[in-house]
Subunit: 426 residues, 3 copies
Amino acid sequence: MIGKEIHEFAQQLWPLNRSITGNGTRETLRQINLHLPKLLIKSVPSGTKVFDWTVPKEWLVREAYIITPSGKKICDFSKNNLHLLGYSIPMEIDISLDELKKHLYTFPEQPNAIPYHTSYYKENWGFCLSHNEYKELKYGNYKVKIDSELYDGELNYGEIIIPGKNKKEIFLSTYICHPSMANNELSGPTVLTYLCKWLEKLSDREFTYRIVFIPETIGSITYLNYNHKEMKQNIIAGFNITCVGDNRAYSYLPSRNGKTLSDKIAKHVLTWTDPNFIEYTWLDRGSDERQYCSPGIDLPIASIHRTKFAKYPEYHTSLDNLEDVVTPEGLDGGYWAIRKSLELIERNKKFKVTVLGEPQLGKRGLYPSVSTKNMDQKILLMTHFISLCDGNTSLVDIANRLDVPAWNLYDMIDKLKSHNLIIENQ
Amino acid sequence: MIGKEIHEFAQQLWPLNRSITGNGTRETLRQINLHLPKLLIKSVPSGTKVFDWTVPKEWLVREAYIITPSGKKICDFSKNNLHLLGYSIPMEIDISLDELKKHLYTFPEQPNAIPYHTSYYKENWGFCLSHNEYKELKYGNYKVKIDSELYDGELNYGEIIIPGKNKKEIFLSTYICHPSMANNELSGPTVLTYLCKWLEKLSDREFTYRIVFIPETIGSITYLNYNHKEMKQNIIAGFNITCVGDNRAYSYLPSRNGKTLSDKIAKHVLTWTDPNFIEYTWLDRGSDERQYCSPGIDLPIASIHRTKFAKYPEYHTSLDNLEDVVTPEGLDGGYWAIRKSLELIERNKKFKVTVLGEPQLGKRGLYPSVSTKNMDQKILLMTHFISLCDGNTSLVDIANRLDVPAWNLYDMIDKLKSHNLIIENQ
Amino acid sequence: MIGKEIHEFAQQLWPLNRSITGNGTRETLRQINLHLPKLLIKSVPSGTKVFDWTVPKEWLVREAYIITPSGKKICDFSKNNLHLLGYSIPMEIDISLDELKKHLYTFPEQPNAIPYHTSYYKENWGFCLSHNEYKELKYGNYKVKIDSELYDGELNYGEIIIPGKNKKEIFLSTYICHPSMANNELSGPTVLTYLCKWLEKLSDREFTYRIVFIPETIGSITYLNYNHKEMKQNIIAGFNITCVGDNRAYSYLPSRNGKTLSDKIAKHVLTWTDPNFIEYTWLDRGSDERQYCSPGIDLPIASIHRTKFAKYPEYHTSLDNLEDVVTPEGLDGGYWAIRKSLELIERNKKFKVTVLGEPQLGKRGLYPSVSTKNMDQKILLMTHFISLCDGNTSLVDIANRLDVPAWNLYDMIDKLKSHNLIIENQ
């Protein structure tokens, strides 16, 4: 089960302090690079204008904690990087509890969870802690220590282009900006790493694959800023890969128009993976599809999730971990749902039968010689399939009409092609 | 509540003997004219050919009644103008009860109601009375007196054009040919009078408004006969306004094809006015939409009603009155449903976001600086709205997709326009 | 009831040994020819290449039976031609029961039925018998006698072209290759014979009718091989006629795309013939529609059945007979369902009202002179109909929108045409 390897890789990436910039993110990319030697790690300087945005300063944290009046060290960044508000500015002060509380974030509905908060675009500092711990805080003098730095540095992302016979591209994107959380986000970059490894080995790739590991939002905006014209010209389908690691559900989030090839493929694969898969709408979006499908960009990008961001209780808290939420089985299911989608896109041709009228299958050994009252189901499926090979209907559309998973037709297609009974229509 | 003023105006028009021609109709137009000084009162001579029809003679009634064998005056036109069959010819005879009965109209299902009947296009005379009164009639000699006149005169209607920035027109039509009945019809001309008063004061009107007060059927045929080419060229939406005065339901009657802008707007406004609004079909039509949507005319005209004609028990009887059926609240609801529809047509632009990717709302103070697990609903709605501003989707379509009333977006649109984040697409 | 005559004709054809070639098939055509003197009986030589197929040898059977060890003659072809496996080669041997069983076909689920089997395209021999008879067979020496012949001969079919005013064609096809079975197939050729007789007498036919009586599969492939270009050019609708003789259900089988004129007509007629009619899908096909709707042929052919092939227990067995399965009432229903479909295709014009606005029906005596609260249903239907005569909507579409059977409108249409109120739009 490949999910086991992916889970181990996620454990390895867990402690790194990822954010939209900085060392943790670079180190994450470097470790992915060990799996994918052809990955290019790119950088864009702080201050660069990208569409309506500006690449922010780079953020570095050496240490951060609070000392309570009784001398206890709490909210220690070195123990859990969620404790520090993302992009906190440096700070070293003595402060009353009332003043401190203006900088503390908790999530009372889940009192034992450390919530995840950031303040990327407004200078601020703060700590996140469990509501239970928060409630125990006594009046008195607190010492705050944040040894961080915000400086002109760079934003980093990884890119890999895997060429195919066709210049048309499949686009796969995931993000690498969240610190220690498992489904959102380590499931994304780890599953995508293993999908890349499979794609690189895939012989006879039909399409070219453009794959990016980027910080969410500012990363996709930056990437689009430089590449959107080429992307619009070449990309025929793609997926934003996130929240693909728990074993509780399969979910689909559409592109903005909901009718792209990616949407059709995702719905077909999920229908035959889990008939109870959840179908979200564009209004449930929340990740980089917001950029990829924005007006004027309009890329055909949909999402296949296990349990979608914002739809599980552990989301954006310290409870989103690699023990209780993300599992080898969960990652395995996420990996295969996307892999089957890519396999189907590769095979999604329009076939045309080469003879007029029904072909005589019997003389080719494809049909029983004695007619009987009840026909064999496999032969029936073959005659159904041939009857729909009009050269205008793609494989996924035929499979939908036949109400079977497309992959059940792959062997039959190969057999019919070997008998020259069907050809691919260009 | 504007419904109160409208109700008072309806009381004032109540006693006039309206028909498709004649003094009562002219006086009705004159009183509307007092509210709308720019109203033009037009006339077309009897005998004029209009499409497949001929403008009929003008009808005048001085008095009409029956004297019973016991000397009692019944069916007295001066007490209720419904008593006289519309367009009755002059008559003065003594007659037996059996002969008289051939000219009496009752509605046994509602024995205390005087029904409303007319005979515009075939010379005839008759009286309408309650079935209870009818049952009391004794055998004997009856005296019939109808002092009416049918003569070459004119057909009258009122027209007002309220210009806007755009030559494209919104068409509003109502009828003024029914005697003393409230929902069908005084609600129509009185509500439309007050809509005109609002439209005249509306600053910065986008569209031009063509508004007519006409006799039903022959009036709309006459008006179309002279104006249909210009109307087809300019009219983009419109409503036939009738039965907008009771407080029991909201209803929608489609145009013939059911997919015009008027249909879309009416359904949107009614969905958010009363989720239980009744949706009729073209086969339930019965008023001037029959002409406006007839083949070859094909104007985009739909209807917004409170309780539709022929769908309430008091319809076309003396029970359709200003006390029990039409109320200030009912008129108010009818007025606002149509006004909101017109406001939405005025604002129904296609917006286009001015940046690629999502705009950075934070730097404009439109987004919170600290990311949190649960996003504010108003901000979420703004990001949804922006994500659909592709320049091809009208406001009502966006509102439908967002499942919110369009008017909830008006302030947000103004704010986004002031930040130059969206523009109107021409 | 015409079903009675059709049933008698079916009884007459019953005993003939029909197959895809041979004397029984020719004699069947000859007897149809007595009803349809203009029928042309065509022949195509064995060995002719037709699309992906080859016309097979002609098959002749003189006698065939088995002698049991006790000397009893069983599986006697002269008693029931289903006993012999279709296209059995000549055979005369003594054989053990175990060896014989390799050539015996039964249907254990229906132990008293003789099943129907063939082996057209692979040389073979065999007998079909009831499972009850099969179970009684004792061990011992059996004598098999099949005096058959397979030789270069011809494949036969019947064709009749009935010209109309328009060169556009309606295509009707049925098959004549099954031995003694009633619903599948004698109902098909007998009902079609009587439809032809009606069509020949029909005055003022709008369309040309192309009608064929062919062996199933190889016959339609052969016919298409020679005629498909002309057929594609001219045929606007058509039906494959089979299983139209029992009285248990009405059924519809669509063309491949399901949206042809034939589909629309069949659904309309069946909706108003039997609201519980069964709607099958393309995946339930099984007769010559497989060829007529195959990719590249794509003729607009649908099927109207009573109980469809493969959907009744007696199908393809000796129980599919003229006593218990096919009845005069059943044949009558099949005949009329198709005849009404053809009548509707003949009348399926697009009508256009000749005046703008509603016509004044009153002056033509088509409307009551006194307006009343409740309108007559017939007049209402007429005003509905006129309101939809926009010149772009066919009769069947109007009837569907009005939710009435099209034939309820025929008289009204004739009346409106006689008043010059509607014209046919070309």
